[in-house]
């Protein structure tokens, strides 16, 4: 009898704790630092957030498509692409605003895009990623034809860093922390802040909605309270990181293979602060519609209002 009572009690406890258990997937890399306070239990909310780190987009897509997660931290562009492919996902807020820079090797100069005519720029992964589209846009604004006047080459960021430091590459458009990895030790300098130029062109603050917190619609509809709670915890985790950068780096160390000194330096050029979508919808809309206009293959359609609410 006692045993049965114990079993019932035990299962009740398990069920209660299960209800407050949510899964969140987050990219591995510098974006791990803002979430590290949650992972290490420094910042907690009433729901227990189970964070899983993803390394490449395929992993994230597979987990989202197979409903293995409730929340996802994703590049805003990837979220919008998934939404356009019929995945029921909504943007809750944007939290990464600065990361992209043009670096120039110490032997080369940059005085506007025109000075790159006849030269080559390297940028990560492939055609259509954020900094590639931004760069193509800025080039054409300055009367330069990308691919024709200036060659654009795609390569893994690690390879770009290695070749930049060995003097083989003079110009690279990179996200942090690769910017710092490329120029650390006097191998080059930052020639252009993409956020600043973007802001000037668009008459917006100098920031780009790079990455945000997303929720799966079916989860959000059945757990509206939990969504609010997770959003608040997420925001507090970023705040904690901004106030205690050194400690945040220290507790992120176990997840990242990048040296702390590099991360610390690159954090100076990145900006993380949480803005709920209600306060930054126009930033996101302008950004996504510009991407769609410039590179429709990469961003086939601009997400409708369901993308911003569930």
């Amino acid at each position: 009898m006692k045993k049965i009572a114990f079993l019932i009690l035990f299962s009740v406890i398990v069920t209660i704790s299960m209800a407050g258990n949510v899964t969140l997937i987050n990219p591995l890399g510098p974006t791990t630092i803002p979430i590290a306070p949650i992972m290490k239990g420094v910042v907690t909310g009433s729901a227990t957030i189970n964070v899983k780190l993803w390394q490449n987009t395929d992993e994230a897509i597979a987990m989202i498509a197979s409903n293995q997660t409730d929340f996802a931290v994703l590049p805003v562009t990837l979220g919008a692409i998934l939404y356009s492919k019929g995945i029921k996902i909504s943007l809750l807020g944007v939290y990464e605003w600065k990361a992209f820079y043009l670096v120039v090797s110490s032997g080369a100069t940059f005085t506007g895009w025109k000075s790159l005519v006849g030269k080559s720029v390297y940028t990560p992964e492939g055609r259509g990623q954020t900094v590639d589209v931004l760069m193509r846009y800025m080039m054409s604004q300055d009367g330069i034809t990308p691919d024709k006047d200036v060659k654009i080459y795609y390569l893994q960021p690690q390879e770009i860093v290695a070749l930049f430091r060995s003097g083989k590459i003079d110009y690279a458009a990179l996200p942090e922390p690769f910017v710092t990895m490329a120029i650390a030790g006097g191998y080059g300098k930052i020639a252009l802040d993409f956020q600043k130029v973007w802001g000037e062109e668009m008459n917006l603050p100098d920031r780009i909605p790079i990455a945000g917190l997303f929720v799966m619609d079916n989860f959000a509809i059945s757990h509206p309270q939990t969504v609010i709670d997770v959003e608040q915890t997420f925001e507090r985790s970023i705040e904690w990181m901004n106030q205690n950068t050194d400690q945040a780096l220290e507790i992120s160390k176990t997840y990242l293979s990048i040296p702390i000194s590099i991360l610390k330096e690159s954090m100076k050029r990145m900006e993380f602060y949480y803005v709920p979508v209600s306060k930054c919808k126009s930033d996101v809309e302008i950004f996504l519609s510009k991407l769609n206009e410039l590179y429709p293959q990469g961003m086939p359609s601009v997400p409708g209002k369901d993308f911003y609410e569930y």
Binding site: T57, I61, A62, A65, S66, L78, I81, L82, K85, G86, I87, E125, G126, R127, G128, Q129, Y153, Y154, L155, Q156, Q158, E159, A162, L163, S166, K168, Q297, G298, M299, P300
Partner: protein
């Protein structure tokens, strides 16, 4: 006829599996894929990419045969040469491409050279070992007999070994023709500036999964066609060659 039936079974299985899985983002249905293939067929850049991949593959095939066969031949007829070369070639064979990717790009840059060098180094060991093994297994009785009749070493090499060289080249081509496409496409993906691998990389970038599968179909078609062609052509050529000698 049987082949068509086989393809049909494959397509039905694919359809069933994609319906069961029901995640077009991971496995698109055959219909979606062929629709994407149709769009690809209308684009000029698709043909440019195919052309680029094809000529790179042919070039790799040519260099691999031109270097692999003589080296493999020397290793086959001389045991010391075999022992000296074997470790280095085994290392080249075992090292994963990504480990020396930066080195290749540093020396040859992005463009057609990088993918060609990577593919060449990946396939060279196969060519060398196929030839070496072939030479080593040349009919010992023939050689013994030649020795009994005091035929000079030079003549043995010329008539018996070199005489069996043609089949070695054929078998090398047969072995690597199926792999060369895969290797070229992967290396284009990693450090190319054009070709099917680059198109796959871009399609992946914007999560256009049907397009990835459609490009894969093109790659598979290239692989199967070239393999069939080589088998057919070589069987004929080999017959002719055997009659002549």
């Amino acid at each position: 006829m049987k082949i068509l039936f086989g393809i049909l079974i494959f397509l039905i299985l694919w359809q069933i599996f994609s319906v069961i899985l029901n995640v077009p983002l991971i496995l698109p249905s055959p219909y979606l894929t062929f629709e994407s293939l149709y769009h690809l067929a209308l684009q000029r850049e698709t043909y440019q990419a195919i052309f680029s991949t094809v000529w790179k593959s042919l070039l790799v095939l040519l260099i691999v045969i031109a270097i692999g066969t003589p080296v493999g031949f020397l290793m086959g007829i001389n045991e010391s040469v075999y022992q000296i070369f074997r470790p280095a070639i085994t290392v080249v064979q075992a090292v994963p491409v990504i480990s020396w990717l930066a080195l290749v790009i540093f020396v040859w840059g992005i463009g057609w050279k990088g993918p060609v060098v990577i593919s060449f180094l990946s396939l060279l060991p196969i060519s060398i070992f196929t030839t070496a093994t072939g030479v080593r297994s040349t009919d010992r009785n023939l050689i013994e007999m030649a020795k009994v009749y005091k035929v000079s070493q030079i003549r043995i090499i010329r008539t018996i070994y070199l005489g069996s060289l043609v089949p070695f080249i054929f078998s090398t081509v047969e072995v690597i023709i199926g792999d060369v496409w895969k290797v070229i496409i992967v290396s284009e993906y990693l450090c190319g500036s054009d070709g099917i691998g680059v198109l796959i990389s871009w399609a992946r970038q914007y999560v256009d999964v049907p397009r990835i599968y459609a490009l894969t179909i093109i790659a598979v078609a290239l692989g199967i066609t070239s393999e069939r062609f080589v088998k057919f052509f070589f069987r004929k050529a080999l017959k002719k060659w055997q009659i002549q000698s």
